[in-house]
């Protein structure tokens, strides 16, 4: 009985996998991110942005090489490293050579190591890792490898921009740093202390603390401490419900200064902050949405909104991923030999539709680009987030941020 059950099950398994395999005409990009569970909205929105970018930027213009089309295939990793590795294997079996992932540095870390090992052990079907959002600095430093490309500015680069903005403001004398107790939160905190110490030694860090990630029900005690410390500015790396809870609680308890942060836009957070966050939330990020950097960017955004009325282009770098990959495949003249594509990507300079140039730095595969400080507001917003009337507007730009920064990456090339 057990045998026949197993056989039946395995037959179903083989069927499901082969049914999904399809024809290998298109150049496929595996999008491995959460499509179910608590982070599904972020993942699904990212998938839509990938699909839309592939459709409008590549396929509508006749594809790459001799008319090959891009196809984005979504794989649900449930934001679990284990599930990601399984889905990676499924993707590789389907003949996919390009892996895109972004949500959670923990997952990115698991994927980059697995891909490095896979490429070493299976030279015949190597894959490239297009990291579009995981910002742990280690990925392009100690843990860098030839197959990993990061299109987002990493946490250190963004903190560089934040601290530039703080340093330029003479009124800020006291800064409070608070974050989630895990690698990213700690990286943000140490970078903030380091950069502030270099740029404005006179600024006092009146608080530097970590709270458990995703477990805090009520942020009131933390915000009391922050208010009591008389801080002029707050820096946090919080995201998701932790960002919303912290931000709302701080404002409700009487804080009026700026909160500098990484992830406080889109996925319902902009709508939930609404009026509360106005004049307080300062976001760092690449990609200028408001005011639109170019007509093509405005057209692109309008077309995206037509197709996905509930969606946001909150990860504008996704267009850079697609654009740069297409350019690299054309330059390399092949989509099958990922080593050639990787060499074409290295050192590439790409004109982004969101303004400025993106340079894929050769020594560590970190994209160097303009980084902006945005504010959360409802004034002069051409494209809002979450259809809330609120959106983010660029208030300060750092051109080609951290282009000369050091890296500990020691890359081995095939």
């Amino acid at each position: 009985m057990r045998k026949s059950f197993k056989l039946g099950v395995s037959a179903a398994l083989a069927l499901a996998i082969s049914a999904a395999a399809g024809l290998a005409e298109n150049i496929k990009i595996a999008f491995i991110d959460p499509l179910s569970g608590p982070f599904a909205s972020t993942g699904t929105n990212g998938l839509h942005q990938f699909e839309f970018a592939a459709e409008t930027m590549v396929n509508a213009n006749g594809g790459v090489l001799d008319g090959q089309m891009f196809e984005v295939v979504g794989f649900d990793n449930k934001i679990s490293p284990k599930e990601s590795l399984i889905q990676l294997q499924v993707a590789i079996d389907q003949g996919i050579r390009f892996i895109a992932q972004g949500n959670s540095s923990g997952v990115a870390n698991a994927l980059t190591e697995a891909i490095d090992k896979h490429n070493r052990r299976n030279p015949d079907d190597r894959v490239l890792f297009l990291n579009y959002a995981a910002v742990d600095p280690a990925l392009t430093n100690d843990k860098c490898n030839f197959w990993h490309f990061r299109f987002d500015a990493n946490a250190d680069i963004k903190m560089d921009a934040i601290t530039d903005s703080i340093a330029a403001n003479e009124e800020i004398k006291k800064v409070y740093v608070i974050g989630q107790d895990y690698s990213f939160g700690k990286a943000v905190a140490s970078a903030a202390v380091r950069f502030l110490g270099e740029k404005r030694p006179d600024i006092e860090i009146v608080g530097n603390e970590l709270h458990p990630i995703g477990k805090v029900k009520d942020f009131t005690p933390y915000s009391r401490k922050i208010v009591a410390s008389d801080a002029d500015a707050i820096i946090t790396g919080n995201w998701g419900a932790d960002m919303l809870g912290l931000g709302k609680s701080i404002v409700e308890n009487g804080y009026t200064g700026p909160i500098y942060t990484y992830y406080a836009a889109g996925s319902g957070i902009t709508a939930a902050f609404g009026e509360t966050g106005k004049g307080t939330i300062r976001l760092v990020g690449e990609g200028q949405v408001n005011p639109p950097a170019s007509d093509s960017a405005a057209d692109y955004y309008t077309a995206f909104k037509e197709k996905y009325p509930d969606g946001n282009v909150d990860q504008s770098r996704i267009t850079n991923v697609i654009g740069m990959l297409a350019q690299a495949i054309n330059e390399a003249g092949t989509a099958d030999d990922v080593v050639a594509v990787a060499y074409a990507l290295e050192g590439m300079e790409y004109e982004s539709m969101w303004g400025g140039t993106v340079l894929m730095r050769e020594k560590d595969h970190q994209a160097i680009q303009n980084v902006h400080i945005h504010e959360h507001t409802d004034e002069d917003i051409a494209f809002d987030y979450d259809n809330s009337g609120f959106g983010i507007k660029v208030v300060k730009t750092v051109e080609m941020a951290a282009a000369e920064s050091e890296t500990t990456c020691n890359m081995r090339r095939p």
């Binding site: 458990p212 308890n253 996925s267």
Partner: protein, 318 residues
């Protein structure tokens, strides 16, 4: 000193909110002997129902109607689900409520999606009640305190001063005898389950705007509610109150003051390893109280279970 007062108030709010959840849970447990894992899910449903109602009729109608809806739903779950599973024993009952919690979360995501809902404090209460040394106490918090105290008094009155309360009290201790006296114990069970979940619903309605209304809100609060009633003693309303306040203040104060493990270890005579980042014990040395605030209740629960398995006020074993 002023900050102590502020933290006392904040801790009181957290504690009373926890109490509204644990009161229902402890009632249900003492009646039916089942720990309802889905209790926090009813709290979540309360918030979502109230949000939906508030879109059409405003916050106050939500506060009125949502708990009733949650209570009816809870009674339905007892009548058509739990009662069926009851015959298989306690472990399947516990597993049933566990599965129910998963299912409710999925259903909520199916209906309302995965994003945080823009469920807000009513306009009338959006002002600062008073402030202590620059720390403002929002009026909504005062409102929360009053609602929870009113519920506590109401429950206490019903349980100790009314006929139905007497029957419930009796059914707590001698369910068989009460049944033999001709009372419809299954009906009482259903009623208690409904009222218990309705209380959770009230908690959801008033906590949704401040703690956020999102699909993970049940999970965040989930197990802490058990911890509360285990510490307080299963079946004891006073125990639930004391444990809730204890947990509320414990977590609030350990977040509000930066107690460092380093100071403690130096105090008891250890010397700080240098450089700290090479030491195998570096993580122990760098622990601060805000980091561990939210796991303190679990440590407390384990200690209580080991040394006093019937909890602070409980009369019988867990």
């Amino acid at each position: 000193m002023d900050l102590v007062l502020v933290n006392l108030i904040d801790g009181l709010v957290t504690g009373l909110l926890l109490f509204m959840l644990s009161a229902g849970l402890t009632l249900i447990f003492s009646m039916m002997g089942v720990l309802n894992f889905a209790h926090a899910s009813f709290y979540m449903l309360g918030a979502y129902f109230a949000y939906q109602i508030s879109l059409a009729f405003g916050f106050w109608m939500g506060l009125l109607i949502a708990p009733i809806m949650v209570g009816l739903l809870g009674a339905g779950v007892e009548r058509y689900g739990l009662r069926r599973v009851h015959q298989y024993g306690h472990v399947p009952e516990l597993i049933f409520t566990f599965g129910l919690a998963l299912l409710i979360e999925e259903v909520v995501q199916f209906i309302w999606g995965k994003n945080q809902m823009a469920y807000d404090i009513p306009e009338v209460l959006q002002f600062t009640a008073f402030s202590i040394a620059g720390n403002s106490i929002p009026a909504y918090k005062i409102f929360m305190i009053f609602i929870s105290i009113a519920i506590f008094i109401g429950l206490l009155y019903v349980l100790t001063r009314t006929r139905i309360g007497m029957i419930i009290q009796a059914a707590l201790s001698y369910p068989r005898t009460v049944e033999a006296l001709g009372h419809n114990v299954p009906l009482i069970f259903m009623g208690v389950f409904g009222v218990g979940t309705a209380l959770a619903g009230v908690a959801g309605v008033i906590a949704g705007p401040v703690l956020g209304t999102f699909p993970g809100m049940a999970f965040v609060l989930g197990s802490i509610v058990f911890v509360t009633i285990v510490i307080g003693g299963l079946g004891s309303l006073w125990g639930a109150l004391v444990a809730s306040l204890l947990i509320g203040w414990l977590t609030t104060f350990s977040k509000a003051y930066n107690l460092r493990m380093e100071d403690f270890l130096t105090f008891i005579g250890f010397s700080r390893p240098d450089p700290i980042w090479d030491s195998a014990w570096r993580d122990l040395w760098t622990i601060t109280s805000p980091q561990v605030a939210d796991i303190l209740p679990y440590i407390l629960m384990i200690l209580i279970l080991i040394f006093r398995p019937y909890g602070l006020f409980g009369k019988r074993d867990v």
